[in-house]
Amino acid sequence: MNDTMLGRFYRRAAGLGLLGTLGAVYVALIGIVERFEPRNIVTGYLTLGLLTAALVVFVTAYRATEPPHSWGIGPPPRQHVLGAGVLAAVIGAAGVALFLVLNRALPLDAVLVNANDRMSEILGLGLEFPAGALALLGAGLAFGVAAGGLRLLAPRFRGPLIAAVVAVMLVSLMEPFMRVVLLQLGQNAISGFFYQSGGLTVPGAIIVAGAVLAIGLANSLRGEAVRERVAEMPADQRRGIQIALFVVGIVFLLVLPQLIGSFLSEVVGTVGLYILMGLGLNIVVGYAGLLDLGYVAFFAIGAYATAILTSPVSVLGWGLSFWVAIPIVMLIAALSGLIIGAPVLRLRGDYLAIVTLGIGEIVRILLLSDALRPWTGGAQGILQVPPPEFADIDFFQPQNLYYPILAFVVLGAFVAISLANSRVGRAWNAMREDEDVAAATGINITNYKLLAFSLGAVFGCIAGAFLAVKLGSIFPHNLNLLVSITVLSLIILGGMGSIPGVIVGAFVLVGLPELLREFAEYRLLIYGAVLIVMMLWRPEGLIPSAQRKRELREHEDDEDQWAHQTGVPTAMPAVERPGP
């Protein structure tokens, strides 16, 4: 590494340090530092509030220790790795200290609601003013050395170490969940040993970190050999293991609500609704490649159709049973999918997104308005939606309502997987990749698009039906654009076209904010960040379907090929004029 390169490397580190400052100050100013402060990570030592700001600085410093691949140079000498880490972290910390000085001198909180003394105190490590700012510089130095040191570790140790730290954070954040489960199992002693006032205890943290570190080390040292052994196993033996895992999974899902109690069952039920919607929208967005931002329309239609059919106080007053209503709702869903889909499906991608968004908003405003009041009850909604009836089980209990939701989720996942591997699924793939070529091979584009749209609508409507049952009533306020955006975000996070992705996405984006009340306020901010970050960093999602990954990654290395396949010049995005 020559001097010019070295200069460039340190300049980049300084820039990243500034970015770290900006990030940490941003996190503080939007109030995350203060709001997350009460949640302990390691009780008595580390809180989530301080950790978020510190992580920003640490991650930027860690990034500073390695030159980007595009520079085409290997890792720099050891002392410079450390030097860059220290430079970035100290600049980051010094920036935060400067911000504290500014915040003392100027009445920032007249404009920025979160720039208060409490925030300054937390950022200043709880110390008095000058001492806190100085301590920050020291902390920056320590962070820089840690970041550089982490980079210098051999990868087989680095991976497990990072995993151990992340595990401590996750296990600590899962406290509300774990506590209830342990309580339900009667394991108060274990709960008391690991958790104390909302965070891990010190011995608990050490045990968690140690366990993950041990597993991680074992995996990086011996993992390859074990995997080879499994691969060499006879087929029927492997099949046996798979079946055993499958059975364990089923049993786990069946006993889950008894294990986690009423509140968490309710949360899991909500997650289930979003998984259903995610599966449905995944057919539309992931399989068929149609970006639908008005998916909430189907959720609303399902919910209102169910309420009108089953509630004794609705305009029809039929008071049908849920099980009789569901097939009717599914029929209405498929029809509404056709009717809404037919006029819009000839539009190209981005216009389709906006039109569907418009339709979703129209549905919402109509539900709220006085014009449809006799049918939908306006802002008051429809009350007295009865729960499903089945063999004297009380489906008002979230623990019991869990089962029908689970049944529909499993059914939905089965349908979605079967579709993906069928002739229809392949037709959708072809259509998504290139409509003209697909049409030329004899695929009826319109029909396949309509099919995707209607299937998606059916999923959405079933989720809506369960929403009505779950709440026992239905109001237009639950049915806005943000539902569509939530479903879209969870698909993007998990990976378009990936069913495990939908499930993980729903648990992370819908389940976690329900558990961690502090997050609830930043939920939509986080969804926005998820959409941006995933598109920039991992467009194929966290758990990509194998095929999407190939599609989205391959072309990065070989742009000419991409251009060749899609007929788009490489230097710019598709130059299409709007046209039908």
Partner: protein
């Protein structure tokens, strides 16, 4: 023009024709019913018209941002409504400070200039950062990728400003010189409406000449025509795209203050509806077309102001004002379905 029926009427065609007929019948019957009842006199309609033009000129200003960006990047900057919100929400603090110190009503022109400057510069900075961080790395990505990013950016900006400035709705201080009415040809018109319409027209004319006559404007048109060739001619494409976002941001920031003249209150979520409506206006006029965006904005404003009453009141629909946004969204849907190339655009 010849009306040609397709040889085979498919299911989709059937739905589309049904939709056309239903809309025309609905508009005709509704208008006839309302007009025949004669609830609103000439003055009433004129008031609605002026309200519509004032609001429409704001939509037009925001729509220019969509159209300019679409012109050079061929993408919908979904977060443009948030760019609009960022400026006017930030300028609120400048406005209260100026009002508290008595400058705003003591020296109103100076005060207003500062408020406009704060709003426009903030919006511009947000727009430029947005482009740099969220859109530039994705210029070669498949089409839907930047659109999803833009939706994310819209949410992210909205809730960032909510967290920074608080979630409440804030009221701008009153600006005394803008209260009251002007008498124009015997018709009393609110001063704010006059100011809004005149400033919007000035800004739009200014933009038109900027794009047509200046070097930068020519560079923008070149980039919009063909980026590769423009780059070969020595145009810095990245900088031109940044400039385009900056101009869109400036106009949105100005539109924000004009919006406040009419509605007086700001909040973090104020950008969504004007954003969508301005997008409708941009598509209506043929996206990428500057004059089209202006006309589209005016048309949408007037339709939204007159439409609900004209089409619905005669049919006995209660509280037609609640359905204002439905008219705008319906127009959006219909335009995109039937004339996605806009009224001034040409089918290709």
């Amino acid at each position: 023009m010849r009306l040609r029926l397709p040889e085979r009427l498919s299911f989709v065609d059937l739905i589309l024709w049904g939709l056309r007929v239903a809309i025309v019948v609905f508009v005709l019957v509704g208008s006839y019913a309302t007009l025949s009842q004669g609830v609103l006199g000439f003055d009433g309609w004129r008031t609605l018209l002026i309200v519509g033009v004032a609001q429409g000129s704001i939509y037009a200003l925001i729509a220019l941002g969509y159209t300019l960006v679409y012109g050079v990047l061929f993408m919908i900057n979904f977060a443009h409504g948030e760019v609009f919100m960022a400026g006017v929400f930030t300028a609120f603090f400048a406005a209260t400070a100026l009002a508290d110190s008595g400058i705003l009503n003591g020296n109103p022109l100076f005060g207003l200039a500062i408020i406009f400057a704060v709003s426009m510069v903030t919006s511009m900075v947000v727009a430029v950062i947005l482009e740099r961080v969220a859109y530039r790395p994705l210029r070669r990505a498949p089409r839907l990728v930047p659109l999803i990013t833009a939706i994310g950016a819209s949410l992210f900006l909205q809730y960032t400003f909510r967290s920074l400035y608080g979630s409440g709705v804030r009221s701008y201080p009153t600006i005394e010189i803008l209260t009251g009415t002007f008498d124009i040809a015997g018709v009393p018109i609110q001063k704010t409406q006059v100011v809004v319409i005149v400033s919007a027209i000035l800004l739009m004319v200014g933009l038109y000449f900027f794009v047509q006559r200046t070097r930068t404007g020519r560079a923008m048109r070149a980039v919009s025509e063909d980026k590769d060739v423009a780059a070969m001619m020595g145009i810095n494409v990245d900088r031109v795209i940044s400039t385009t976002f900056a101009i869109g941001g400036l106009l949105a920031g100005a539109a924000g203050i004009l919006y406040v003249f009419l509605f007086n209150s700001v909040s973090f979520s104020m950008g969504f509806l004007p954003g969508i409506k301005a997008f409708t206006a941009a598509v209506l006029g043929g996206i990428g077309n500057i004059v089209g965006a202006m006309l589209g904005g005016l048309f949408l404003g007037v339709l939204e102001s007159i439409g609900p009453f004209l089409f619905l009141d005669g049919l006995g629909v209660p509280s037609t004002n609640q359905l204002r946004d439905v008219v705008a969204f319906t127009l959006l849907v219909l335009v995109l379905i039937f004339r996605p190339y806009g009224i001034l655009g040409r089918k290709e």
